[in-house]
Symmetry: C2
Subunit: 416 residues, 2 copies
């Protein structure tokens, strides 16, 4: 059909990933671990389409409008609607909560692992599409909700096997900073400059940072880690009492998005060669006001799969690939495919995951396929085995062979 045409490239679109089984298994391992953990703390899953009206992102102010135009996939559909491929999940979940505010029960704990899109130059750790765990609590201003969200961030890292020394959670406060700016009489413009300065602190020398502060007539000591706001101090005390010691106050944590209103935090890798922020979040008490006169407070975070995967890989915390298939059945002649399928059917009934070969390649090649797919056990089925009911199972890892009667095969495989 296409032989006369120019061949198409087999490459994926620029900046996105193909997930062959071994890569997909890593995604599944991460997502399953995340789901299990957040469900333990009472979060329930929601979902939404990647397609959202563009105005959802434009409405957050002029800066965001620029972000929508420059950094998102936004296009006009055939009904003349402007559509954006969601660049983050928070506006979507805020929209959904606002839509059913009267029916939903609060506090409401929600999570999702959506894919999100950014139109940016692909580079290490920054792809055009990535997945992102989103964890949020709606409907409460309790500082214990802030603490729970920090606890979830901490717990996720620990549940993957990270040690406390592998990461640090730095907590800042937008409400404290707001009050500070007001007290110091900073103009809106000056306050924005201050936030940008704090956000960029790690990228400049202490001198540059202090020079920036002094232009705003702020002495460095006033925004120092030794001088935490009372609510944050109390929270850190309670974490210390629970023997959690890598959550610290850091006034330079402000987060980029305008919608944060209270506690904000970022989780950092402590590896000296890669001290980057892994993920972060905070409190946003006014976001649903975009939709609704009665705002519904929220606190939460987003955690991307690419940075998580890089972190886990660097700490050797990703398990080796094991396919879901327990056993591969090779056959000595293609006519036996039907009988192999019947035998496989009995094993499946008993709970074993079984793939059969159709016998259209030589036996040696069939056996090689079991290894290629990394399936642990192999059975070679021939007329003899079918007649006698004696089945030899080969462990492809150890090379051990076990001879069993047909009726015992399922139990043997399920135990292995």
């Amino acid at each position: 059909m296409a032989d006369s045409q120019k061949k198409l490239s087999t490459e994926a679109y620029k900046g996105v990933r193909d997930f062959y089984p071994e890569e997909q298994a890593v995604q599944n391992f991460m997502f399953d671990t995340l789901k299990r953990f957040v469900e333990k703390v009472g979060y329930v899953e929601y979902g939404a389409s990647i397609l959202e009206p563009a105005e959802l992102y434009r409405s957050k102010g002029a800066e965001n409008a620029e972000m929508v135009n420059e950094q998102t996939y936004t296009f006009t559909d055939r009904g003349d609607r402007e559509v954006t491929l969601r660049p983050e999940m928070t506006p979507t979940v805020a929209r959904m909560v606002a839509a059913r505010r009267r029916d939903l029960g609060f506090p409401l704990r929600l999570y999702s692992i959506p894919n999100v899109f950014r139109y940016e130059r692909p580079q290490k750790g920054r792809l055009r599409e990535h997945w992102q765990l989103n964890v949020d609590i709606f409907g409460t201003k309790s500082s214990y909700a802030d603490a729970e969200i920090l606890g979830v961030a901490y717990g996720i890292m620990r549940t993957f096997g990270a040690k406390e020394s592998d990461f640090v959670i730095k907590v800042g406060s937008r409400s404290y900073l707001d009050a500070f700016a007001k007290e110091r009489g900073l103009t809106d413009e000056q306050y924005k400059t201050l936030r940008r300065l704090l956000d960029a602190k790690d990228k400049m020398t202490a001198q540059e940072f202090e020079a920036g502060l002094s232009e705003l007539e702020i002495e460095p000591g006033m925004l120092s880690a030794d001088n935490p706001p009372a609510d944050i101090e109390q929270m850190l005390k309670e974490f210390a009492a629970a023997n959690i010691n890598n959550i610290v106050y850091d006034p330079s944590i402000v987060r980029g998005f305008d919608y944060y209103t209270g506690m904000v935090f970022e989780v950092f890798n402590t590896n000296p060669e890669n001290r980057r922020a892994l993920f972060g979040g905070g409190r946003y008490d006014n976001l649903t006001a975009l939709f609704d006169d009665e705002p519904c407070p929220g606190v939460g975070f987003g955690m991307g799969d690419v940075t998580l995967r890089d972190f886990l890989a660097s700490r050797n915390l990703i398990p080796a690939y094991v396919p879901p298939t327990h056993v591969y059945i090779a056959i000595t002649s293609p006519e036996l495919a039907g009988k192999a399928q019947t035998f496989a059917g009995d094993l499946r009934e008993a709970g074993v995951n079984v793939a059969i070969d159709f016998g259209d390649r030589k036996l040696a090649d069939q056996i090689r396929m079991a290894s290629k797919h990394k399936i642990r056990h192999l059975i070679v089925l021939g007329e003899d085995e079918i007649t006698s009911g004696n089945i030899k199972i080969k462990d492809m890892e150890s090379g051990d062979e076990s001879l069993l009667s047909k009726a015992d095969v399922a139990a043997f495989l399920l135990k292995a």
Copy 2:
């Protein structure tokens, strides 16, 4: 912040769905059931981005180019690349298989549950975004692979609890039809007309259908269900021997896509009020030739979530919603939130999924929230309970209350 602005709509983009927890749970139920079943038969999961170069869909011929222009979300990115939101998964998986043909082992069984996009007028069962189980075997022309794919389609329906009488699988043959058209000397145009006629058979009267055939000088009996091709007949015999009796030959099954080359099938609802096709697929032996001189044969199908969900709902096969959270802890005063979290932490350690209330609402309202979230068990924690260690657990379904010592709570909840 946004109070002075016009409020945004809380509606989702037209033709797509929001999944609140109860709806997401149905998706999870369907997807988990599908995954478990296909993994039992040896399929492994892969994934890919929804973004694909538009040429992937255009290259299948002029008709498809029209489909890409009219029925897909296609736009030009800022790098002047034409991008399409995938309308189906088969071209993507063919691309991926072609890309690593030399490294992958065959037969290769792959599955994925991607979301796919069509730009069409939203109507019942036809949304702009839906999810679709894709199951494929690559690298074999064995008719046992065709039979396995039919067996998977059958097995999925049964594993959801459908009876044989609830559905019928109609099998056709593109290769038989190709040979028939050649033998009868039909021109390409006439053959296309014949396929369209067969495809539309259910939508016309017997007279209209026969009139169409006679224009092509074909007697109705030549393409009748009583006259199956030999390979299909043999396959149906083997299904009957395995006591599977709702897979039948139907020459009118041709499938829309041009890429099919052999066995094709569709699964129909037998409900007289809704005899629609639920899903279908077939053999496509040349698709990877778009990328590669050596084509890799394939056979598989795609099953959409919307039709599956409608089918299951109409047969009462969707289980009632149960949240992942086992117990809700209400507190008699907000100061107890920290202690509730500590107690919850112990339960979680033991394997219980626990949500706590932060106590910023009245106790009666907190208890109402447990019901609203449909959480089965409730614990009210006050100073007394903390001091005495005696915990009362209420079963919100039966109303039963059990008084337990703190140490026994986890075991009790896990048993329930």
